[in-house]
């Protein structure tokens, strides 16, 4: 097989983003932020195989326990497998230890999987969760498997276009409305400039009251419909 990617300056062939043939890529814009009452996760909805949009209404926001969610980027197959394993671990944790897992616990398990299998995986994950003891927390877990606690985290191919936007407009302790506007503003810019990002904007707001989904559509200028009813 011909190597893909590019040669590093030291002559070693470097291609961390390499996807297996035909693999579905979440060339993506994802983010999660801390705000006054908890955390907000956000993502676009485009999944591509090359230039073809395999799914235009993807849900990249994945629940791993009651109030711990993650945003997935990289290989769809890899990140789904990792999220499924973490979800299993966390549900076992809750029953064997008589207490809900914290966001730290989730982040630690995600890292264990992504670091130990870094050679096989292409997964960039943002973990965000809420618990009564620690409040809202955001962790970033980029490609190599390092874990970073952050005020807000952005990820995926589209994130490179919004580093400036986020750094300029970021404020700590925003209200829920402020937080939603921030996430929406950032993701709509990423969608605008990144060909691998697009479709709708999905969000999840995690607070003491639980998880609430939001949806914003491009044909409504990302103004609505907004809050989604709980699934039954």
């Amino acid at each position: 097989m011909q190597p893909t990617g590019m040669l590093g300056e030291d002559g070693i062939h470097v291609d961390m983003n390499h996807l297996k043939k035909g693999e579905v890529n979440l060339g993506t814009s994802i983010m999660a932020i801390n705000f006054k009452d908890g955390v907000i996760l956000g993502a676009d909805s485009r999944t591509t195989t090359g230039a073809y949009i395999a799914n235009r209404v993807t849900d990249k926001l994945t629940q791993v326990s009651d109030t711990i969610w993650c945003c997935r980027s990289g290989s769809a197959a890899d990140t789904q497998a990792v999220a499924d394993i973490v979800q299993h671990h966390l549900s076992m944790y809750a029953v064997t230890n008589d207490e809900q897992p914290t966001t730290q616990t989730a982040a630690a398990i995600f890292q264990d999987l992504c670091y130990d299998n870094k050679d096989q995986l292409s997964a960039g994950i943002i973990i965000a969760g809420y618990d009564h003891r620690h409040g809202g927390q955001v962790y970033s877990l980029p490609l190599g498997g390092s874990l970073h606690k952050q005020s807000y985290a952005i990820g995926g191919s589209g994130s490179t276009y919004i580093y400036g936007y986020c750094d300029s407009y970021w404020k700590e302790n925003m209200t829920e409305e402020g937080g939603i506007a921030f996430v929406k503003g950032a993701l709509s810019e990423a969608i605008k400039w990144d060909g691998s990002s697009g479709g709708v904007i999905r969000m999840v707001v995690l607070t003491a009251k639980g998880a609430v989904r939001h949806l914003y559509l491009p044909d409504q200028a990302y103004e609505g419909p907004g809050k989604q009813p709980k699934a039954v």
Partner: protein
């Protein structure tokens, strides 16, 4: 004797045709995609008469992207040793946990006297074995580490170990770009062990800060926020949110064009 099992007592080629042994072959040798992803740049350190000063900036880069600006790359091990990590951040976290486990095990015995705790040179030896083992497995930990602290003999100790398990010791050390840009500056102050005895803590701190400034000017993977630690027999002082001071940019106003231009 032929040691390949597929050759033992097999049907004759001239009658039955060539034996298809392809099923015996494993797919490929195991490969480790080993190259750093999220990385920290230089670490610099220098000995002085009573201890060691060590510094590293707080940046973790993702290629040329300055991705994380709050990554503390000086990690305190115990009351007498600080490690400075250059290279891959995930491997740094792995080593941090490995040493944390080591520290837990060290404290199983109730020994409360300081003399029985691992000294900086003990830790450096341990790390060099870990790093060499991993490179021998063709799965290196992609770091260049400086170990700064107090040795078993209560002397200032400074040594490095890299991803191959190579070790060095010197009155001053620097990793990455620091080896090119900072080492010459520090060596002027401490050319040899003898010179260390004449260096005060203030002199050592000043030269390290100067080095961090030069590195910020010339290393494209650096930033101006950094951590600095002073390790002496009195303990460890660590400051993790320092900003570079007294930078020199004013002269830019005298620079016009690239040769003959005057306006």
């Amino acid at each position: 004797m032929n040691h390949f099992p597929q050759a033992w007592g097999r049907p004759r080629d001239d009658i039955y045709g060539h034996y298809n042994s392809s099923y015996l072959q494993t797919a490929n040798p195991t490969q480790h995609t080993q190259s750093p992803v999220v990385t920290g740049t230089s670490v610099v350190a220098i000995k002085y008469k009573d201890g060691v000063v060590i510094a590293a900036d707080n940046l973790a880069s993702y290629g040329s992207l300055a991705r994380f600006t709050d990554v503390k790359r000086l990690r305190k091990f115990n009351s007498s040793t600080v490690l400075g990590f250059g290279g891959d951040v995930s491997d740094m976290q792995y080593l941090d946990r490995l040493l944390n486990d080591l520290d837990v095990k060290e404290n199983y015995s109730h020994a409360d006297d300081e003399a029985s705790q691992l000294s900086a040179n003990n830790l450096h030896t341990y790390l060099s074995k870990v790093m060499y083992k991993r490179r021998t497995d063709f799965n290196p930990l992609w770091n260049h580490i400086l170990v700064a602290g107090i040795s078993s003999e209560s002397e200032p100790f400074l040594a490095s170990v890299d991803l191959l398990g190579t070790t060095f010791s010197s009155p001053s050390l620097a990793t990455g770009y620091g080896a090119h840009l900072a080492q010459p500056i520090m060596r002027k102050l401490v050319p040899d062990e003898e010179a260390v005895k004449g260096i005060s803590k203030e002199q050592a701190v000043d030269v390290v800060k100067e080095c961090m400034k030069v590195l910020f000017y010339r290393d494209a993977r650096s930033m101006d926020g950094y951590s600095i630690a002073v390790i002496s027999k009195e303990g460890i002082e660590i400051k993790e949110n320092e900003k570079l001071e007294n930078q020199s940019w004013q002269f830019a106003e005298r620079i016009r064009g690239y040769g003959t231009q005057v306006n």
